[in-house]
Symmetry: C3
Subunit: 397 residues, 3 copies
């Protein structure tokens, strides 16, 4: 039995009817079965591509990408996923600093979506705004479809918002699953999601929040560690705590990187901005108070500089399980002595994990494609079987 057949069988045993026609905002909106389905479809699509079997399910159609922030990696991951399924990407560029008004969003959403099957939005700049923007956009196209303006209802793939970064964290987790030989082996594994020093300030909270909200669903012991003042959104902490208790794992916080790394199986050290500061920044931007923004930036940089010892050094790594925890990062990392004098991680640590880090990233296009398939195809298991049976070559010769 081929891997795809196996995965299709597994898919058929899951309760995923609710995914059809739905958007993907946050992982915690989805059931355990639904998350497993994303992993299964991602693995199946990758297997088909490795075997040079076409996975085009669209003969034409657009994938609209909307990045309200610069992006290379996510842009290419989205473009790759769309291409894999037969959709052509069209980028919608909006000024990144502009907090759009509902009316404008509604109109733009419809005007760009006449042939859109997928909408990928990255909007992580302003706490309290990104998710709302995505909702407004998708509500508009849902109404547009209902009112006969759009022939099809496009699917949202959240490419990062102020709350969650589901395509990143799902790719991270699929990498972890394969590393440990299956989701069933994750129970009891210790995960250190820790803050780390970076000379920049204001990085989004969506990765630590996404990890807290997702990794806690697999029975792992998730420790969220950060210096005082670098809290994440309390709503997400509550989600993580609930997940942990439901999955038989744990979720706790601590204020020491050393403690978090101690005997950890997985470490995810990265910089982020304090939630409260990001809320303040959103208010300042809303008022157009550039002076206030500059002052906030100075304050945050000074606050950051107090915590240069939060870094994933060789010494820190030695504390982990056999000194060999799986090191994760969403990339790009601030590497000490390479991209900056002092940063999130030692160059020697980063270099040692280069291959697994790139492998981790390589799951993202497949995760995005799987999210699209599950929202757009009524019988995904049947579709996978049909693609394999047809065996159309991706490269003809």
């Amino acid at each position: 039995m081929s891997k795809v057949t196996e995965l299709a069988q597994r898919l058929e045993s899951l309760h995923i009817k609710g995914m059809y026609g739905q958007d993907f905002y946050w992982t915690w909106d989805k059931s355990a079965d639904e998350l497993e389905a994303v992993f299964a479809v991602a693995d199946a699509l990758r297997d088909l591509r490795e075997r040079n079997i076409s996975t085009r399910i669209f003969d034409s159609g657009l994938g609209i990408s909307l990045f309200r922030d610069n992006s290379t990696r996510t842009r290419f991951s989205f473009a790759s996923a769309c291409n894999l399924l037969g959709l052509e990407v069209q980028d919608l560029d909006e000024k990144k600093s502009q907090i759009a008004h509902g009316e404008t969003v509604r109109e733009t959403a419809n005007m760009v979506s006449f042939m859109a099957d997928v909408i990928g939005i990255r909007d992580d700049m302003f706490i309290g705004e990104g998710h709302k923007y995505q909702q407004t956009f998708m509500e508009a196209v849902r109404e547009g479809h209902r009112d006969g303006i759009l022939e099809q209802r496009p699917t949202l793939v959240n490419l990062q918002c102020d709350v969650d970064h589901p395509t990143q964290c799902m790719a991270d987790l699929l990498h972890v699953i394969h590393h440990f030989g299956g989701a069933e082996n994750l129970k009891g594994k210790k995960v250190a999601m820790t803050w780390a020093y970076s000379p920049s300030y204001g990085k989004p909270l969506s990765v630590p929040q996404g990890v807290a909200g997702l990794f806690t669903r697999f029975g792992m012991d998730v420790v969220l560690a950060h210096p005082d003042g670098y809290d994440i959104m309390p709503e997400v902490e509550a989600v993580a705590a609930g997940n942990a208790s439901a999955s038989g794992g744990s979720f706790r916080k601590c204020a020491s990187m050393e403690e978090a790394f101690q005997d950890a199986d997985i470490v995810y050290p990265k910089s982020w901005a304090p939630y409260a500061a990001m809320e303040e920044r959103t208010r300042l931007y809303g008022k157009g108070d550039q002076k206030g923004i500059d002052a906030l930036e100075q304050r945050l940089l000074a606050q950051n500089a107090l915590h240069k010892d939060w870094t994933c050094s060789e010494e820190m790594m030695k504390r982990t399980r056999d000194g060999k925890a799986l090191y994760l990062h969403c990339l790009p990392a601030d590497i000490s002595g390479v991209s900056c004098p002092e940063g999130e991680v030692d160059g020697s640590v980063f270099d040692r994990y280069l291959v697994p880090l790139y492998k981790q990233a390589s799951y993202k296009p497949y995760i995005i494609a799987a999210m699209i398939v599950l929202a757009q195809v009524r019988d995904p298991a049947g579709a996978l079987r049909a693609l394999e049976a047809a065996g159309a070559k991706r490269k003809a010769f």
Copy 2:
């Protein structure tokens, strides 16, 4: 009999042989049969897409878009049309302020067209320039094809020039046709194409000109209303008058929005710049006289501000037929109290027409695609029948 079969039959009864291999500059270059053919093909393509039937007639090939002005809507409409037919869009970015020289245009035209089946150009900035630019570009590729440089002769779709905006006005009219249940029901309908106040200045004249030149062909009573000094091109007024007398309708001008709206069945209130001022602007740009341009802008803004009462208010709408005229706009509109303090239309009026406005816009990709099909396919009726018979799925599962 399916809708597509019906439309294909209708197509076969029309004299449209002359469309094959031709460009689409202005609607008044085309016969009544040719315009009807565009509507028929647009409706057929939409019907096929609604039924998930592939309308790819190109296996590969490029659609080149050239926007000499910022654009989101038209860009996405063109990209959607190309994608619908199997063409990939490549954008050619040129500095928007540059009035290009013939030699350069000739060279660029050939260099970007090696695999181009369609060229979409929007060049509406300078009176007396946009249309000439499109002609120079297309003459160059015609020669390139003749001389064996290009394997195929690409088709022009005028995405807006200084004279006409045919994809917009054809989409507007198709919307009107469906709203009134058929082109045969348009005879005697009163259309108010009126100027309206906007805090910006210098909007193109191509929409009012395009409406005057197109809507007069269907036996309607078209009233062009604007304050003193906001004339459109006299050549287009002459075209409109000729059309009206040929179609059994009428074309007249007046200087009162109230009068134009009185008992109107259709209203199209929008801002535009005075023709004479646009001619002056072109001259100033040609000389690189920035001071002169700034002074002109100030003068035009002051002139504009005298006519804030030209707005599509609730009171104004009450004058129309049963207070329920079909409100048209090419979007985006300047909405009073929403996008500006005082603008072209009241927020409450705009909101009431939101669904029809978006529907109006939704015809544009199909209109563009229909123009491409009619210029590129020798037997469009046969092609539509063949696409329906093949029934290849656009989305496979």
Copy 3:
């Protein structure tokens, strides 16, 4: 026997097994058979397209273009080639002035290549950097493929580096081959690759170097002429000399345009910067010494201005074989009295050669596509036969 069958037979007689899976950096890396194979596949692809036969060998997949300099022509040639084969282009924009570090290149290379079958890089700004950058990039994706990060190993097409411009010079040569009725007719033809005055400074050396390195392989008498101080890279001169002696042609240098043009069959007059100055510029950029760069620019412009008599005038053309040498240029040219007061070529000369110049350029997309096919397809002759036999229409109707 069709042209494609003939070309496929010829291909089968060539030793080109080594091309599969390889990159295309410099023409002098390739054997005579390998170069001939590129021409044969280019001609076959063009023939198929002229006969409306689809040449899609990819059902999906990306072509990544990376231009570290502005580009319209090369961008469209690459996009056309990718489209012809079924690949979708995604542009990776990097700041043009930034000399990237190895680590960053390695990461970016993998992050954008998950679905990439082809990488097209143009990096001609800095002597000693462009080729290195391409190598670093391709080493990274080769490792990525080896390590299971990338499902496929993408192929490099060098779209211009500091050393060679193979897609340009191969297109130039294919044009020359067709002009003279076959490669066998090139023996003994005199080629004048000469410097010419342009009011700009700092144009890349890759074209004269590429011509010197390529045209010398066909038994031609290649003369490289330039004013004192405008030397090209000595390594490339050595390559040219070696080629000439192996092919039974000649390679010599002279300091007189008149002498080079005397009885020439082919002339290629164009501006370039002195090699030594370009090395100095690279050093200054590396140090961020803007003052030094400005001073260098002034010095080079003054040096340029001494040689305004190096121009392809009507008088100069009269010296060539029967006054009718084939005039080549990579475009855009600096045309005296058109794009600048005094430039590389007289307007009347340029105009007379307009059609052959555009024809010359029209080979580039096919050359690029041929390079891709030969690197990606194990049996290119079989693939060409199969495409012709299948006869799938590029445009269905």
